[in-house]
């Protein structure tokens, strides 16, 4: 950590030259603000100050738009309660950075006296951490303003570190930290992100955290403005263990694993349910995906057919398998007769897309279409009578029989005929994901249909998804939307075509997709300045 800081300290000396090159470019304009989400915030703090910094607080929820939470980062802002909470968290973090336990490690200079302001030392620390937090070097007047705060409070409190604490806290609640602010410059006839904004975009896509010192260096030297410079940094980042954080963050979003936060199961019907089951189920899914895509560098489509899983004691109880393993997570291969093929047959996906007390083929089918095929389902019409779907006391015993009623109503049929035959093959798993063979005493028919391809049961569904070209295309589309903060539905195929083609050609390896996307000019493409943007007013002197 100390080494990083020294490196950053050196960077700061060169900052005014590097920064002004971009700042003075006449065509440079702000492209978008992206609100950091909780995971990005936590990873950034841990990487900048170290994992020993702990904090709890309320982070504002994301909002899923067109299948991705990341899209909402370009739509949402920070509300008053959200800001108050972040303000408190900022102070908690800053207090720990300067406390006696951490200061030797985290504060790179020693003040002349602990009991008084030391402008030079405070200013150095503000500039160091400011650069890492803002993902760009601070302008001299920014360093001056925050240092003045630190100096004033150090004097009034008679304590250098107390003053510094508030200087750092002001950085931690600044818009430049809480939002990733992206700028673009002219690139021939078009616009592209400036090198520092490229550094952030790369860092949050690949690592889900703030750019490190080396990435900031490459930005300031101008290397990230060139294709070769980008390629070099992408290679370095792909080789880092931090890539796993980036991949986990992407799949958490794409697979909608945060849905679990709002899932309650009826514990009268499912006594094995507990929120720890949800946590475990999420982790199982992420470990499985990481194992296939990163550790084995395999075909990402295999997540639909893999029998391999990772289970802990809680999950083992739900799956009904013995847990004889000394560690926390036991690699486990489901036997063929279990019917558990692919991530759709694990507790996470099965229980997230169910009701508290019963399974829902429609919810499951709709989720598969949205998550893996980029085919969102419209809201049902407002005025529909579903009564017959409900009545288990009548002649229609299974949900399949009851759902078939939809087929008789053309308005309903237009959607249910797509979603239900995808969900019905999963009916041998109940609302919690436990195996069953009958529903209300009737055997369950698990025949299914995915866009005209007929199959049987969960293994058939997994294979059909594996073989459907829409799945990898949807994945590539979502990765692009996730990386740039766009709406999945608005993404133009041309923007991710090159990376998608390389992905297909290389046997659907996720690493190839990420790498080619991060190297493609489209990943950094920016819109022209908006015409309606107000002319800079009295703030010109700050620019």
């Amino acid at each position: 950590m100390r080494r990083t800081l020294v490196a950053v300290g050196c960077l700061c000396l060169g900052l005014s030259a590097g920064w002004s090159t971009f700042a003075s470019a006449a065509d440079r304009h702000m492209v978008q603000l992206r609100r950091m989400n909780e995971q990005e915030y936590r990873r950034s703090i841990a990487d900048i100050f170290g994992p020993q910094i702990s904090f709890a607080g309320m982070f504002e929820p994301d909002l899923r738009i067109d299948g991705l939470n990341s899209t909402s980062t370009t739509v949402l802002s920070i509300t008053p309660s959200g800001f108050s909470a972040l303000s408190a968290v900022a102070d908690t973090i800053a207090a720990q950075v300067v406390n006696e336990k951490n200061r030797a490690k985290l504060i790179a200079c020693k003040p002349k006296s602990d009991k008084d302001a030391d402008h030079a030392c405070a200013s150095q620390v503000i500039a160091q951490y400011g650069e890492l937090l803002y993902r760009r070097p601070l302008k001299p007047e920014e360093v001056a303003a925050k240092t003045k705060l630190a100096d004033d409070l150090a004097k009034s409190k008679g304590n250098f570190y107390e003053g510094l604490r508030y200087g750092l806290a002001s950085l931690l609640q600044a818009p430049d930290f809480l939002f990733r602010i992206e700028f673009a410059v002219r690139d021939g006839k078009e616009y592209t992100l400036d090198p520092l904004s490229r550094a952030s975009r790369l860092s949050y896509l690949l690592w889900n955290t703030a750019p490190d010192a080396e990435l900031l260096r490459a930005a300031q030297s101008g290397e990230l403005g060139t294709q070769g410079g980008v390629a070099k940094q992408v290679d370095r980042m792909m080789a880092s263990p931090r890539l796993e954080s980036g991949v986990r963050a992407f799949f958490s979003d794409m697979l909608q694993l945060d849905t679990f936060d709002n899932v309650t199961k009826d514990t009268l019907i499912y006594p094995k349910w507990a929120s720890s089951v949800a946590e475990g189920a999420k982790e199982d899914t992420l470990r499985t995906v990481v194992d296939i895509t990163l550790r084995s560098n395999g075909d990402v489509r295999d997540i639909m057919t893999t029998p391999k899983s990772f289970i802990n004691r809680k999950l083992a109880a739900v799956y009904g398998i013995p847990f004889d393993f000394s560690g926390e997570w036991m690699p486990y291969q489901f036997p063929a007769e279990s019917g558990r093929v692919g991530i759709l047959t694990r507790i996470s996906m099965l229980s997230m897309f169910s009701h508290p007390g019963r399974s829902s083929p429609t919810k499951r089918g709709v989720a598969v279409m949205d998550i893996f095929l980029c085919e969102p389902t419209p809201q049902p019409p407002a005025n529909v009578d579903f009564s017959v779907v409900e009545d288990t006391s009548g002649p229609l015993k299974t949900v399949r029989e009851r759902l078939n009623v939809h087929a008789t109503n053309p308005t309903c049929a237009s959607c249910h005929n797509h979603s239900d035959p995808i969900g019905l093959p999963l009916e041998e798993f109940d609302s919690l994901g436990m195996h069953r063979t009958t529903e209300n005493g009737q055997p369950i028919d698990v025949s299914g249909d995915l866009m005209g391809k007929k199959f049987n049961g969960a293994p058939g569904l997994g294979q059909a998804l594996h073989d459907n070209p829409r799945f990898p295309a949807c994945l590539a589309r979502k990765l692009y939307a996730y990386g740039v903060g766009a709406n999945t539905e608005d993404v133009k195929p041309a923007t991710f075509k090159a990376s998608y083609d390389a992905f297909v050609k290389d046997g659907y390896r996720l690493k190839t997709l990420i790498k080619t996307l991060a190297n493609s000019p489209e990943f950094f493409r920016a819109p022209a300045p908006s015409k309606a943007a107000p002319a800079p007013t009295k703030t010109a002197s700050n620019n």
């Binding site: 702000m30 504002e60 929820p61 108050s84 303000s87 818009p175 936060d261 009295k538």
Partner: protein
């Protein structure tokens, strides 16, 4: 309006009128008992501020069980409202008002909710076309308190709040009694009843930190593109509100009620199961009541559930919303039996909120007499997402500005009349409210004093 000396006391007035004889009279509330901001005075001469709150539940009520046979002041309490009996003289039931959508679609479980809170039929799902009523009211009556508003999601869903400065950004709610306790009575709280109350010196420090943060405004507003302008403005509004909150912490709140500060309720299960909610809601209600009485906030929003409510009864496999759509209408009863039970639970939990608010004595009455509370839902008949006749319940005396005990038959008028009535009762200078077909200049004058 005449201006009386601030120490004016209506008991003095009564003594003057009746020469001190003990005559039980209904005390009339006169404008001259309010100061120029419409605030009431307690017997001590201290001001009692206006307060406003909302209670939201999803999926409506059962017309056959809640709608009284007659309107006006003489109406019989219906089975679904039975739990509100102790408060019958303190609330008004509003039925029969409409949500005209103009050219907008009926966004299921959203349009009704948003129209009631903004006076505008929403143009997008899950997005408000204007700040919600509580926020507008908070700007008018919430000055000088630690929190402009407090949001609570009883079933623990992080995104379940219907309070917003506009757009898709909802004010994030507290999601458990413990979180609500910490917000109101945790760090930063000082009991205003204590003689040794003094401003925390740390507050001044935070103030200088925030003013440094606010300095970034000019630089960024000059650079930001048109798309993100409103978002950046919202961020700086939030910074300003944090500054105001800190300013408020430097001032000892002048309070009238004498209350015991609650203790930390601790961790407990929070979920959408009805029995859990029945345990959690009264605790939340108590905390909200004491938060108001100690003037930590004057505005609150309590949501029982999300709009398409998924509250459920353990052992029954289907939650509320799904039941509304799938349950058959009983041929004899002419309504959906299970659905109606969920609606009744929702009203009962509203009653448990009122109970706490009415049990805090304050000045010449209770907290409930000095506030206004809107209980509302998103639809009238959930099975078909009907928006005609969404039931609304207005509770509280609004410091003498609102009467109770009425059933108002809305006769197809726009729901925005309720929002307008609320603003006028709270002394806000609103002559009309709402947009397009929801525009109204007609408050419900029968219940305004």
């Amino acid at each position: 309006m005449m201006r009386f000396a601030k120490k004016f006391d209506r008991r003095i007035l009564l003594r003057g009128l009746f020469q001190g004889s003990s005559v039980a009279v209904a005390v009339p509330f006169l404008d001259c008992m309010l100061d120029t901001n419409g605030q009431a005075f307690a017997a001590t001469g201290k001001k009692i501020p206006h307060r406003f709150g909302t209670y939201f539940w999803g999926c409506g009520l059962t017309k056959q069980l809640y709608l009284p046979k007659s309107a006006g002041q003489d109406w019989e309490l219906t089975p679904q409202l039975a739990s509100l009996k102790p408060f019958k003289s303190k609330f008004n039931l509003v039925s029969g008002m409409r949500v005209p959508l103009d050219d907008n679609p009926n966004f299921q479980h959203w349009s009704g909710n948003a129209a009631i809170l903004t006076g505008i039929a929403p143009t997008q799902a899950n997005s408000f076309d204007a700040p919600t009523l509580d926020q507008t009211i908070g700007d008018a009556i919430g000055r000088g308190t630690r929190f402009k508003s407090i949001e609570v999601a009883c079933s623990g869903i992080k995104s379940e709040s219907f309070s917003s400065l506009g757009g898709k950004n909802m004010n994030p709610p507290e999601t458990s009694p413990m979180a609500l306790y910490k917000k109101l009575f945790g760090a930063g709280f000082q009991d205003p009843q204590r003689p040794d109350w003094k401003p925390d010196p740390q507050v001044m420090v935070q103030q200088s930190v925030l003013s440094t943060v606010a300095e970034d405004r000019n630089r960024l507003m000059g650079e930001v593109g048109a798309n993100d302008r409103a978002r950046l403005e919202q961020y700086f509004t939030s910074v300003r509100q944090a500054e105001q909150q800190i300013q408020a912490e430097l001032q000892r709140p002048e309070i009238v009620a004498k209350v015991d500060i609650p203790t930390d309720p601790g961790e407990m299960p929070v979920s959408k199961a009805v029995p859990t909610l029945q345990r959690v809601v009264p605790l939340i209600a108590k905390l909200v009541a004491i938060g108001l009485a100690t003037d930590q906030t004057r505005v609150f929003n309590v949501a029982l559930s999300e709009s398409a409510s998924t509250i459920f009864m353990p052992g029954d496999s289907k939650p509320f919303h799904q039941t509304t759509h799938e349950e058959a209408i009983d041929p004899v009863l002419q309504y959906q039996l299970t659905t109606s039970k969920f609606s009744t639970y929702s009203v009962e939990m509203f009653a448990s909120l009122l109970k706490e608010l009415d049990s805090v004595p304050e000045g010449d009455g209770t907290l409930l007499d000095h506030m206004l509370l809107l209980g509302y839902t998103d639809v009238s008949f959930a099975k078909i997402h009907a928006l005609d006749g969404i039931p609304m319940i207005l509770v509280g005396g609004a410091n003498g500005r609102m009467k109770g005990g009425h059933h108002i038959d809305g006769r197809g008028d726009p729901v925005s009349r309720v929002g307008l009535t609320i603003q006028q009762a709270l002394g806000m200078p609103a002559a009309n409210w709402g947009k397009f077909s929801l525009t109204t200049n007609k408050p419900i004058s029968e219940i305004l004093v």
